[in-house]
């Protein structure tokens, strides 16, 4: 487990660290063939896309998981939802991109941050749903009974007791889904499209680190190759930082002795 991780990290640092400089984080790309420039627009674009994706994927995913574990247990609808989530999880990301292109990208809503966020958000849903369901089912029956025996209505017990008890696992599930889509390129090709200029408008094409890595890595210019390596390093570091930050914030509220 550790060896491939170290290998990837080491190679990224070896190839990418030398191209990291202030300009990389503050400037937008230079025209083709010119040396210098940066990926500020792609870094911010990735942030915008992942924010939009989380806005869709986290609430829908958690809602689905709560339904499966608490309210729909044993019903036909629950089986259908679970099956759908599993199938959705298996849809190749390029197919997701093409599907969102066909369904969302229209003359009224051209290539845009929103359509990119939708594609990534849908990809988050199955992971979040299934981990939420599994974590809720791990909450001991005795804890649910304790709440019911106090005269707490079932819905309230689910919201305030069961979900809260399962929340560390649910947060981990959300972070897994987040980290997975953060590096997705294929769903963005037909949706967010990419943008060489500075843009954070939600209804305009937007840049993203994976898209830039792809574009630069196949370009004929050495300087762009170097920047692609640097971008890959930045992407990995940002994912690790985001996951660590959420875990740290989530763990701060935890009391002594709580499992």
């Amino acid at each position: 487990m550790v060896a491939p991780l170290l290998a990837i990290f080491g190679y990224l640092i070896y190839k990418g660290a030398s191209s990291l400089n202030w300009a990389f984080f503050t400037q937008i790309p230079k025209p083709e063939g010119e040396v210098g420039g940066g990926m500020a627009n792609a870094i911010v674009g990735s942030g915008v896309l992942l924010g939009l994706a989380s806005l869709i994927g986290v609430p829908v995913g958690i809602g689905g998981g709560v339904f499966l574990a608490e309210f729909g247990r044993g019903t036909k609808l629950a089986n259908a939802v679970r099956f759908t989530a599993d199938v959705l999880n298996g849809v190749p990301s390029i197919v997701m991109g093409v599907a969102v292109y066909g369904l969302v990208v229209t003359p009224a809503m051209p290539f845009s941050a929103i359509s990119g966020g939708i594609a990534l958000g849908i990809m988050m849903i199955p992971t979040v749903t299934r981990t939420t369901e599994e974590m809720l089912l791990m909450v001991p029956h005795a804890v649910r009974e304790a709440a019911l025996a106090l005269g707490v209505p079932n819905w309230r017990s689910v919201l305030s007791i069961t979900i809260k008890t399962a929340s560390p696992g649910i947060i981990t599930g959300c972070m897994l889904a987040f980290a997975r889509v953060a590096g997705e390129t294929a769903p963005l090709i037909f949706t967010a499209f990419g943008n060489s200029n500075w843009s954070v408008a939600l209804n305009r094409p937007i840049s993203a680190l994976p898209l830039e890595i792809y574009r630069y890595a196949i370009s004929p210019y050495d300087d762009q190759h170097r920047q692609a390596w640097a971008a890959a390093l930045v992407l990995v570091v940002l994912i690790v930082a985001a996951v660590s930050l959420v875990r740290y914030v989530a763990s701060r509220g935890v009391l002594k002795g709580a499992s």
């Binding site: 001991p140 005795a142 804890v143 009974e145 304790a146 709440a147 019911l148 025996a149 106090l150 005269g151 707490v152 209505p153 309230r156 017990s157 305030s160 007791i161 809260k164 008890t165 929340s167 935890v254 009391l255 002594k256 002795g257 709580a258 499992s259």
Partner: protein
């Protein structure tokens, strides 16, 4: 104050399994009543019918009447209202693991929308004192999780949690069977003190425990109540041969 419980023609099922058959008895107010019998005799099912927890299992079913005070709990009220009047302590301590000691005790009130901080502070302190836990936890109320306490402390925390909603009846389903002897004796002392304020029904496998804490004892066997009388009579001069066989250790 506690209220009496009148049970008439109570039957209960788990699926096709007829676990309680035609139970009739009157449980007196402000006393401790013990229910004894071998495993699977229906005594736990019986107490779960007294706060309508039995029906939380989707395959469970109940018929008959249970009056708690002047309330016919299967006809006149919703399950959530009854469970606020009839507290329950389970076999294994089950504090809410993510909540502080304070929040565990306040949970019943908070989750029912009660939020007056000042009054909550008072109720939490009183409940923890009533459950003889206050002195051990008063410095860590908000710092420590309920799950960080020892088993015996957790069970007293669960008793405090049940008392905080000010019930009239306290049901205890083998409350000491998962605890060590010292903790068990603390729980028994507690039952002795609490019965002046609450009607207590305690299920137990431990006949000495029944003899120590309860004025009345009921003997259950195979889903029926064989005998219900004063604890002294049940243990010294039972009317039914089966009761005698059980308490003298011939079966069960």
């Amino acid at each position: 104050m506690g209220v009496g419980i009148e049970v008439a023609s109570l039957n209960a099922w788990y699926g096709a399994n007829h676990t309680l058959q035609d139970i009739n008895l009157n449980i007196p107010a402000n006393h401790a009543t013990a229910l004894i019998g071998p495993s699977g005799c229906g005594k736990s099912t019986f107490v779960r019918c007294l706060n309508r927890m039995h029906e939380t299992n989707p395959i469970a079913r109940v018929t008959g009447t249970v009056r708690i005070g002047d309330l016919d709990i299967y006809a006149d009220a919703k399950p959530v209202e009854i469970r606020r009047r009839v507290g329950m302590v389970f076999q294994r301590p089950n504090p809410f693991p993510t909540m502080s000691i304070y929040d565990n005790v306040a949970a019943g009130l908070k989750l029912n929308g009660y939020n007056n901080r000042h009054v909550l502070d008072e109720i939490v302190e009183r409940s923890l004192k009533d459950s003889a836990l206050w002195d051990e936890v008063k410095d860590d109320l908000r710092k420590k999780s309920g799950a960080s306490l020892s088993g015996g402390q957790q069970q007293r925390l669960c008793i405090a949690r049940a008392l905080a909603v000010d019930p009239e009846v306290l049901l205890m389903d083998e409350p000491a069977s998962a605890l060590d002897p010292v903790s068990t004796s603390k729980i028994e002392d507690l039952i002795f003190q609490l019965k002046s304020q609450y009607t207590i029904v305690i299920v137990t496998h431990n006949m000495q425990q029944a003899a120590r804490v309860a004025e009345k004892t009921g003997f259950f066997l195979n889903g029926r109540m064989v005998e219900f009388d004063s604890t002294h009579k049940i243990f010294t001069n039972p009317s039914d041969k089966r009761t005698e066989d059980y308490i003298t250790g011939r079966f069960g």
